[in-house]
């Protein structure tokens, strides 16, 4: 029950954080650029048109009032109109968000799976060539920006060895009705197995480009977690009871060792969402990040603030999810209700 309270407290704190985030976004989109109305109409627009837009954006009011108007509108789902698409920002977000979530979701799966696999291998074969190779790879993995991986993939798989699709989410030959917005899921619902495979193939390269750095970093954390725990008394005790080595590894050693790995997941997902801005641009992936980066390059202020707000919400929810997973791995938190006590 105390765990429920812990989650409730986290949710309430998130509301405070979101309010603060909305202030930052307001400052970035409305205060920093000077005159958003002039910016959106261009330098040649006549002054009276600019003044009219200023009035329409309530920019003739004092700043706190402007913020209040913006916030109450945002709470009702009105994020303003996009300058570029001429549609309400919230519609654009609804259209593009699933593609980004799909990418980040599969990147997270990839990271967890390979981080645990490689980390366990490195710990199991500690100080052998396997361990050394995974360590060396992790140094490179951490040092290669996701956009560099993406560009190298395009060069390799787009031109020299075209075995995987490098652009967009699906081949045009498949027409799948959009239900959830998640291509793989939609194809499954439609029962079109070739389309599922096609959507999956389109995911591979962007997902690997996004996940590579985090995977190796987490593999190293998993390795050191296992190595630390392997010398603990509870493992020796289990060995003394005659429990098989396999059971010890999978039931008793892996679970506590994964706590630091999952804790870092929150940070790695942050990096993934940030890097998605460049990776989606490179792979021409029609997601929220590509929409966001285009908005940024065209100084589409309403869209910028909408995208940053939505990404903040997604990220805060992910972090709460990560905390819940950590709590399930760590009975001290689940039962004690407070992390680290």
């Amino acid at each position: 029950m105390r765990f429920g309270l812990y989650i409730l407290r986290r949710l309430l704190l998130s509301i405070v954080v979101l309010l603060g985030l909305s202030i930052i976004i307001f400052v970035i989109a409305r205060v920093v650029p000077g005159d958003p109305a002039r910016l959106s109409l261009g330098p040649r627009a006549p002054q009276d048109v600019v003044d009219a837009l200023r009035k329409e954006l309530h920019m003739d009011r004092p700043l706190p009032e402007q913020y209040w108007i913006w916030l109450t509108n945002a709470l009702q789902g009105d994020l303003g109109k996009s300058l570029v698409s001429k549609r309400p920002v919230i519609q654009d977000v609804a259209q593009y968000l699933p593609a980004t979530l799909e990418l980040v979701f599969f990147a997270a799966i990839f990271m967890i799976f390979f981080a645990i696999l490689l980390g366990t291998l490195a710990a199991r074969y500690k100080d052998t060539w396997v361990d050394g190779m995974i360590r060396t790879l992790s140094y490179f993995g951490v040092s290669i920006p996701a956009f560099v991986v993406a560009i190298l993939f395009i060069l390799l798989f787009g031109y020299f060895w075209p075995i995987l699709p490098v652009l967009s989410r699906a081949s045009p030959s498949f027409s799948i009705p959009t239900i959830t917005g998640f291509k793989v899921l939609d194809s499954l619902i439609a029962g079109n197995i070739p389309a599922v495979w096609d959507a999956f193939k389109h995911l591979i390269l962007p997902v690997v480009a996004l996940a590579l750095g985090g995977t190796f970093q987490e593999a190293r954390i998993t390795r050191s977690g296992i190595v630390d725990n392997a010398n603990k008394d509870f493992i020796s005790a289990e060995r003394g009871y005659g429990i098989s080595e396999r059971t010890i590894w999978f039931r008793f050693l892996l679970k506590p060792s994964l706590i630091p790995t999952v804790s870092v997941m929150g940070l790695d997902i942050a990096a993934t969402i940030g890097n998605a801005f460049l990776v989606e641009l490179i792979f021409n992936w029609p997601g929220l990040s590509r929409y966001g980066i285009n908005a940024m390059l065209q100084k589409d202020l309403n869209s910028i603030s909408g995208v940053v707000l939505i990404i903040g919400i997604v990220f805060i929810l992910t972090n709460i999810l990560v905390d819940i997973i950590v709590a399930f791995l760590d009975p001290r938190i689940r039962l004690g209700g407070v992390r680290g006590k």
Partner: protein, 304 residues
């Protein structure tokens, strides 16, 4: 019979060392811990090489003029050769020269970002840690949480986007999102030593707040801060390259690593050297700083 060796050893270390030899002993000890991992030494070599290349760029590069607005159509789009080591771009500029010159902006950016972001982050963390549990703690740490609630690259992109695109504004954008990490780090350290006896003793002796914060608590937090700074140089270069990749960093004709990669991507696959070599240069520099950062971490954690 007295053991002469023991006597001479203790004589060497009886506290009457000159400043230089004390420094030298400390340096030897730290270097021992640093160089135990050979990769750290490789990292240091890479970092020194990059710094020297950046400082002496006009002297070491074959065509310093190519780092600016320069056009040489007869040599446009040349593949790597003895004359142009890493090839040339579509207007005939030497890629090698431009990569070396772009190290300047990358290093300058990471140094300035850390120099500006670390002190306020550190002071806020100290304050929040010292006034642990009070309203000051709550305010500072909630503000920190807010800045950490958006992925750093997203916030940096947004800030850089609304400002005029150039290197200074890219630095501002990265700095704005960098300080909270130090606040959180120092907060953890400061609040854990806040109730230790030496702090309470200083308080009872009537030491000023300033003295307690900066002379009693701060020295206990510095080692992880230095470690993080060493590792962060690589991160800042990475974020800077990401910003310049989308055109929000250094503006042409001044070269920047990310900008060179994205320029080259438009000429793939024919002029592949335009993309591959700047990309490898990014990896090379970041790898060097990461390896060096790991070495510094080993060194500082061994000497504690």
């Amino acid at each position: 019979m007295p053991d002469n060796r023991t006597v001479s050893l203790t004589n060497n270390y009886n506290g009457k060392l000159s400043g230089w030899s004390r420094f030298w002993t400390g340096f030897k000890k730290n270097w021992y811990h640093y160089s135990r991992n050979k990769l750290s030494v490789v990292g240091l070599a890479i970092v020194l090489l990059v710094i020297l290349l950046a400082i002496f760029a006009p002297l070491v590069t074959p065509y310093p003029a190519h780092a600016g607005p320069y056009v040489d159509y007869p040599n446009a789009g040349q593949p790597p050769s003895a004359k142009f080591w890493l090839g040339t771009d579509p207007i005939g500029r030497d890629i090698f020269t431009r990569i070396i010159f772009s190290f300047r902006g990358a290093l300058l950016m990471s140094m300035l970002v850390l120099a500006i972001a670390v002190p306020p982050g550190l002071i806020l963390g100290l304050l929040a840690g010292y006034y642990n549990g009070t309203i000051i703690d709550t305010i500072i740490m909630r503000i920190t949480d807010i800045f950490l609630s958006v992925p750093p690259l997203v916030l940096a992109l947004a800030i850089a986007a609304v400002l005029k695109p150039n290197l200074i504004n890219a630095m501002i954008a990265v700095t704005v999102m960098w300080w909270p990490w130090y606040t959180r780090l120092v907060y953890g350290m400061a609040s854990s030593v806040r109730n230790d006896y030496f702090v309470i003793a200083a308080e009872l002796n009537g030491a000023s707040r300033f003295y307690i914060l900066f002379r009693e608590i701060l020295p206990n937090c510095l080692s992880p801060v230095f470690t993080k700074m060493a590792l962060d140089v690589g991160w800042v270069i990475l974020i800077g390259a990401s910003l310049s990749f989308v055109g929000l960093g250094e503006q042409p004709p001044t070269p920047a690593l990310g900008q060179m990669v994205s320029d080259g991507a438009r000429y793939m696959p024919e002029l592949w050297w335009m993309t591959i070599f700047p990309a490898l240069a990014i990896v090379f520099v970041i790898l060097g700083f990461n390896l060096m950062g790991d070495g510094i971490r080993d060194m500082l954690s061994a000497s504690r």
